[in-house]
């Protein structure tokens, strides 16, 4: 696009080169804005996943926002007034007391994997504002499975550590129709 001679495009008031540069300029600025938005929003909306042991070992301070995942400790669920629930999340070595108010997901059960999101409120105390349990009854959230493997509580290949293992107890319902 080397134009040493006078450009022949007075229509539109721009030469071919100018038009192309305008187009490239607009494209770059849109992409720039998009990249800026991405970087800005990423810095503000990332939550780190921690296991109970992480919280103790890394000595995380109250006020920190995070996702806490592990197993719901058997026998730890207490339901109070007005949908207040407390339970302990454990990875087998450490357990953290979690307080939550609201409706628990369908698959929330003792002994099963759970991810909670919220704020560390004190020494081994966690205030959750959302609780996630996954939708397949023997599906373990990936983060939880990994952290359990690290603690040596679950080897790949084992069935998920699920005391309710519904699949193994498929009922002997009526014989199949011909």
């Amino acid at each position: 696009m080397s134009t040493t001679s006078t450009p022949v495009l007075p229509r539109g008031g721009m030469t071919r080169k100018q038009r192309r540069m305008t187009l490239i300029g607009i494209s770059l600025s849109v992409l720039g804005v998009a990249a800026g938005l991405v970087l800005y929003s990423l810095s503000g909306s990332i939550t780190l996943f921690q296991s109970p042991t992480d919280i103790v070992e890394k000595n995380l301070q109250p006020g920190a926002r995070m996702r806490l995942g592990g197993l719901v400790e058997a026998g730890s669920v207490r339901r109070g007034e007005n949908m207040e629930v407390s339970f302990a999340v454990t990875d087998g070595r450490t357990s953290i007391a979690v307080a939550y108010r609201g409706i628990l997901p369908d698959l929330f059960r003792e002994g099963q994997g759970v991810i909670t999101e919220g704020v560390l409120s004190g020494d081994r105390q966690f205030r959750a504002d959302s609780v996630l349990a996954r939708h397949d009854e023997n599906y373990m959230p990936k983060e939880v499975a990994d952290s359990l493997k690290r603690q040596g509580h679950w080897k790949p290949g084992d069935p998920a550590p699920n005391p309710n293992a519904a699949r193994s107890s498929a009922p002997q319902s009526p014989a199949r129709s011909p």
Binding site: L9, R11, G12, M14, R16, R19, T22, L23, I26, S27, V30, L31, V33, A34, L37, V38, Y40, S41, L42, G44, S45, I46, T47, L48, F49, R67, R79, N82, M83, G102, I103, L104, D106, L107, R134, H135, D136, E137, Y139, P141, K142, E143, D146, N164, A166, R167, S169, A170, P171, Q172, S173, P174, A175, R176, S177
Partner: protein
């Protein structure tokens, strides 16, 4: 005859034919051998027949509850209602992959049958590329995901389909989504064929457009259906969670929407050729990525029902070969394509470029948000999650200028437009926007400050789309008869564009209503207690156990009164599917106009009480109505005669007279 082995064998035969289709036609096109190129069509039809046979055999195994087939055993149950026996076929990994290939070969067969007016070399090359994709997916199925594997001895009863998938919405969601994903393989095949041939002209764009439109309409339907399903079935009252799997379907949609628009520029003005080809490749790559994200289990998501590393590696290989290969081909061949069509920044072309910029930038933002956690974990081991605020803060700001521009676009002239003149013709749209903003501001209390402005934006988009048509048919400026005649003469594609754009406005209105003005209350209620929500008085009558065919319900009977007048019942339920002992929540909805009252139950307490979550969602139905309007616009566009005729020809008039189905 219907033995599962027949289905398995049919898949192997289809693979053999697919191998033929991948090699012979393209070899013929390189050597200019018509006989070799002509093999493509019958071979494509044969593949479709065999894959369909295999699908029918699998469906039959589900219908008769043949639990000797492991796939049926894992995902079906003899007491399951008929519709879910059928939908169970694709409610699992193996079956859904077979469905994927059925649709893929269906598209090849359609090209074979209806592609008579395609140049022979292009047709041969397109079918060959389709053949490559078919080979890859058939190998994947046969190697890692055989749906016909047997178990001996056969169990007496199956394990039932995941209860969340036992729903009409989800019965048809995957086929719609897959027709969308796989439909983009056509644009991909056309793009790769054009790169191989080095020939790319306006006619090419005209052939590609109808395929892209079909895929786009179905993908829109699939995403919309999935969103409505999540809304009423998951019981959380949300309609979009920025879940990785939702994003996986949104990304090809965004790229596909950009492709639809850039193909217009290419068809009309022979500009943006190289870019259109790249978009076609990217759109299908994102569709493959979508399949990969959902099927490999690399992401933690509500949809992750397959967790199998071998499959993940195989799909990753498919991704690398197809995306890497096509992009390499693009880098090698694209520079040889001739550029054409000059235009000023302010012009119809310029507006469409802007559309493409914002759509691809927002697609890239979604891509980063979806894959960044995965990349970070692979590189550093740190586990993070990227929440909805990220997407709201990147996607939202990019959509606003897009919507501002999309009203201007259709008013601008090709090559060189006049912004001030267009703004003048849009006076009514601006007025509607300002009025809507002020009225919203006056009648609502609370809600985010920006919400009235977004209501204004929605009205601007809708009125702008109406003005577009009004302008073209000279409504109120010419005699009514003239306007009517012009309306009839207006190309369906122009109607389609206006309708689809209006649909975006309608959807935006629903989104603003739902997110900014929803009311939510969670209460623990005992029988006899009442609560007031958004003008409704709701009383809990009692908790009643109910037996279903393959589940047990605990129904919360709620009576609703509105202004003292009886307004019916709401019966949300906690449900337990007996075969898997899996609990689910069944929300109950009451519709008033386009707004809904939504109740979902929590756990029953020991004292006979139950936790209930009430939402009032103003205008929420407009979200899905908007997508329906968009799809209707797509259909109108698809019915445009120019697209049915295919490529421009001197004898176009005569060809149009004979009925040519959409290609």
């Amino acid at each position: 005859m219907m033995s599962p082995e027949v289905g398995h064998f049919a898949l192997v035969l289809a693979l053999a034919l697919a191998l033929v289709q991948s090699v012979v036609p393209i070899w013929g096109s390189r050597r200019g051998d018509t006989a070799l190129m002509a093999t493509a069509s019958p071979v494509a039809l044969g593949q479709f027949a065999f894959v369909t046979l295999s699908f029918v055999v699998l469906t039959y195994a589900y219908l008769v509850s043949d639990f000797s087939v492991e796939n049926v055993f894992q995902n079906s149950h003899s007491t399951k209602p008929l519709i879910y026996k059928i939908s169970g076929v694709w409610g699992n990994h193996e079956g859904s992959m077979v469905l994927w290939v059925v649709i893929l070969t269906l598209f090849s067969a359609l090209v074979a049958v209806f592609g008579r007016n395609l140049p022979l070399t292009l047709k041969a090359n397109v079918l060959a590329v389709q053949g490559w994709i078919t080979v890859a997916f058939l190998l994947f199925i046969l190697k890692t995901s055989n749906p016909f594997a047997r178990i001996i001895p056969a169990p007496m009863e199956g394990r039932d389909l995941n209860p969340l998938l036992q729903d009409v919405g989800l019965a048809i969601h995957p086929p719609l989504l897959y027709i969308g994903y796989v439909g983009f393989s056509m644009s991909f095949a056309f793009a790769v064929a054009a790169l191989i041939d080095g020939k790319l002209d306006a006619a090419w764009a005209r052939w590609v457009r109808p395929w892209t439109l079909v895929a786009w309409i179905f993908l829109t339907a699939g995403i919309s259906m999935g969103s409505y399903w999540a809304y009423y079935e998951l019981g959380w009252g949300g309609w979009w969670f920025w879940d990785p799997v939702e994003n996986a379907s949104l990304m090809p949609w965004l790229a596909g929407t950009a492709l639809l628009h850039s193909a217009i520029v290419m068809e009309k003005r022979e500009a943006l050729k190289v870019w259109t080809v790249l978009l076609a490749i990217l759109t299908f790559s994102l569709s493959l990525l979508g399949t990969f994200l959902v099927r490999s289990g690399v992401l933690t998501s509500v949809h992750a029902f397959a967790v199998d590393p071998e499959r993940g590696v195989f799909i990753l290989a498919i991704l690398v070969v197809f995306i890497g290969g096509s992009l390499a081909l693009y880098a090698w061949r694209a520079p040889t394509l001739k550029q054409g069509g000059l235009f000023a920044p302010v012009s119809r072309e310029g507006a469409l470029v802007l559309n493409n910029l914002f759509l691809t930038a927002s697609c890239a933002a979604v891509f980063v948000g979806t894959l960044y956690p995965l990349a970070l974990e692979t590189l550093t081991g740190a586990k993070i999650s990227v929440g909805p605020p990220f997407f709201n803060w990147t996607f939202g700001p990019l959509m606003v200028p897009l919507m501002l521009a999309m009203v201007f676009g259709p008013f601008l002239a090709w090559k060189r437009g006049d912004l001030a003149a267009v703004a003048q013709r849009l006076t009514l749209a601006f007025a509607a926007a300002i009025l809507a903003t002020l009225v919203t501001y006056a009648v609502t209390t609370g809600g985010p400050v920006l919400a009235p402005l977004f209501v204004g934006l929605a009205f601007y988009v809708i009125v702008g789309a109406i003005l577009d048509v009004a302008e073209r048919i000279q409504l109120f400026r010419a005699p009514a008869a003239t306007s009517l005649a012009r309306a009839r003469g207006l190309p369906r594609a122009a109607w389609g564009a206006a309708v689809a754009h209006a649909g975006v406005g309608v959807m935006l209105l629903g989104i603003v209503g739902e997110t900014a003005y929803k009311q939510e209350t969670i209460v623990q209620m005992r029988p006899g207690e009442s609560i007031a929500v958004a003008g409704y008085d709701i009383t809990l009558q009692g908790l009643v156990p109910v037996e279903g065919p393959n589940y047990r319900d605990l129904v919360a009977r709620l009576t609703v009164r509105e202004g003292g007048v009886d307004a019916g019942m709401l019966e949300p339920a906690k449900r337990v599917y007996t075969a898997r002992a899996m609990p689910t929540t069944e929300a109950a909805l009451k519709t008033r106009g386009v707004s809904q009252l939504y109740v979902s139950p929590g756990d029953p307490g020991t004292d006979g009480s139950i936790a209930l979550r009430f939402f009032y969602k103003p205008m929420v139905l407009l979200i899905w109505i908007g997508t329906l309007v968009m799809m209707f616009g797509g259909l109108l566009s698809l019915s445009d005669r120019r697209l049915r005729v295919g490529a421009p020809k001197p004898s176009a008039r005569r060809v149009a007279a004979t009925v040519q189905p959409a290609e």
